[in-house]
C-alpha cells in the first residue's frame, strides 16, 4: 500500500491503479467509522425533523378556522404583491421578522408558507424553522406556491 522506492513501485499503471483503489477504500472506510461515531455521539432528538406536509390551494380553501399565510420569497417580491394578509418571512431577515409572526399567530391557527413555485425551497426551509424553533406543528407548505395562488385567482 505505501509508496516505496522498491522495484515493485515502478511496475507501472496497474500497481498505481490498485494502490489508488486501496487508498480510496481505506479513506471511504475511515469516513464511515467517523460518521458512525458522530451519529452515536450526537444527542438524540425528542422528535426527528420531518418534511412539513404540503397542501394545495383547494385544500386550504376547505379549511375552517384561521389560516396565517407566510410569504418566504424575497422582500422585493413580497412588496410587489402577496397573498392578502400574508406575513413576509424571508430567511435572511429572520430575526427582525419573527416578532411580527409571533404577534400574529395564536394557538389553533394553521400556518401556510409559500414561495415562488414548486421549484423553490424557501417555503420548505421557513416551514421547517417555524416547526423547529417555535414548536408549531400545524405548519404547511403551499404546493405550487405563489404560482398556484395566482392561477386560482384567474376566472
Amino acid at each position: 500500500m505505501p509508496p516505496s522506492s522498491s522495484p515493485e513501485a515502478g511496475r507501472g499503471g496497474r500497481s498505481v491503479f490498485f494502490c489508488a483503489l486501496r487508498q480510496s477504500g481505506a479513506l471511504l472506510v475511515l469516513a464511515l467509522v467517523a460518521a458512525l461515531l458522530a451519529a452515536a455521539l450526537r444527542p438524540a432528538r425528542a422528535v426527528e425533523e420531518s418534511a412539513p406536509p404540503e397542501v394545495t390551494w383547494a385544500q386550504v380553501g376547505r379549511w375552517t378556522g384561521r389560516v396565517l399565510f407566510v410569504d418566504a420569497r424575497d422582500e422585493a417580491a413580497y412588496r410587489r404583491r402577496h397573498i392578502p394578509g400574508a406575513l413576509s418571512m424571508d430567511e435572511s431577515h429572520w430575526e427582525t421578522e419573527l416578532p411580527e409572526f409571533i404577534q400574529a399567530w395564536h394557538p389553533g391557527a394553521r400556518v401556510v408558507v409559500y414561495c415562488d413555485s414548486e421549484a423553490c425551497d424557501a417555503s420548505d426551509a421557513v416551514a421547517r424553522r417555524l416547526r423547529r424553533e417555535l414548536g408549531i406543528e400545524e405548519v404547511y407548505v403551499l404546493k405550487g406556491g405563489w404560482a398556484s395562488w395566482l392561477a386560482a385567482q384567474k376566472p
Partner: protein, 149 residues
C-alpha cells in the same frame, strides 16, 4: 528551479483544496439535519437516502481533505476529491437545468443568504480541476515510478 516552483504551486493548491473540503465537511457535519434538507431539495433521492448521504458525505470530505497531507493516502484522497467535485458539479447542473430555486447546501445550511447555483457550479468545476492537478502531481512523483527530476 522549475521543479521547486511546481512543488510550491502543488503545495498551495493542496492547501486550498484541503481547506475548502475540510471546512465544508465540518460545516455540514455539525448540522446533518440541515444538510439532509438541502440534499432533499435537489429532488434526486428519497428523504431516507438524503439522510444517509447527509450523515456520511461530510466525513468523507473531511477525511479526504486531511488525507491530502499524508503520503500514504494522498493518491486516494486526490482521486476521491476529484470524483466528489465532479459529482457535486453534476448535481448542481441538474438543479440548474430543472430551474430549481434552491440553496446549494455546499457548506451546510445557512440562513445568511444564498449564492447563485451557477457560482456554486463554477466553484465545483474549479475544485475538480484542482483535484485533477493534484492527482497528476502525485502520479508524476518518483514514488509511482516516474523519473526523479
Amino acid at each position: 528551479m522549475a521543479g521547486r516552483a511546481e512543488t510550491l504551486i502543488a503545495g498551495a493548491v493542496r492547501l486550498v483544496v484541503s481547506a475548502v473540503f475540510v471546512y465544508a465537511g465540518i460545516g455540514k457535519a455539525l448540522d446533518p439535519a440541515g444538510f439532509a434538507t438541502a440534499v432533499s431539495h435537489y429532488r434526486l433521492v428519497p428523504e431516507v437516502i438524503a439522510a444517509v448521504v447527509a450523515a456520511y458525505l461530510p466525513w468523507l470530505e473531511v477525511v479526504c481533505g486531511l488525507g491530502l497531507w499524508w503520503r500514504r493516502t494522498r493518491l486516494g484522497a486526490a482521486n476521491l476529491l476529484l470524483l466528489l467535485s465532479l459529482l457535486f458539479a453534476a448535481v448542481i447542473a441538474s438543479a440548474l437545468v430543472r430551474h430549481l430555486d434552491i440553496a446549494c447546501g455546499c457548506f451546510g445550511s445557512t440562513s445568511a443568504g444564498r449564492s447563485l447555483l451557477g457560482f456554486d457550479l463554477a466553484r465545483s468545476l474549479v475544485l475538480a480541476l484542482a483535484a485533477a492537478y493534484l492527482l497528476r502531481v502525485e502520479l508524476s512523483s518518483p514514488d509511482w515510478g516516474a523519473p526523479a527530476p
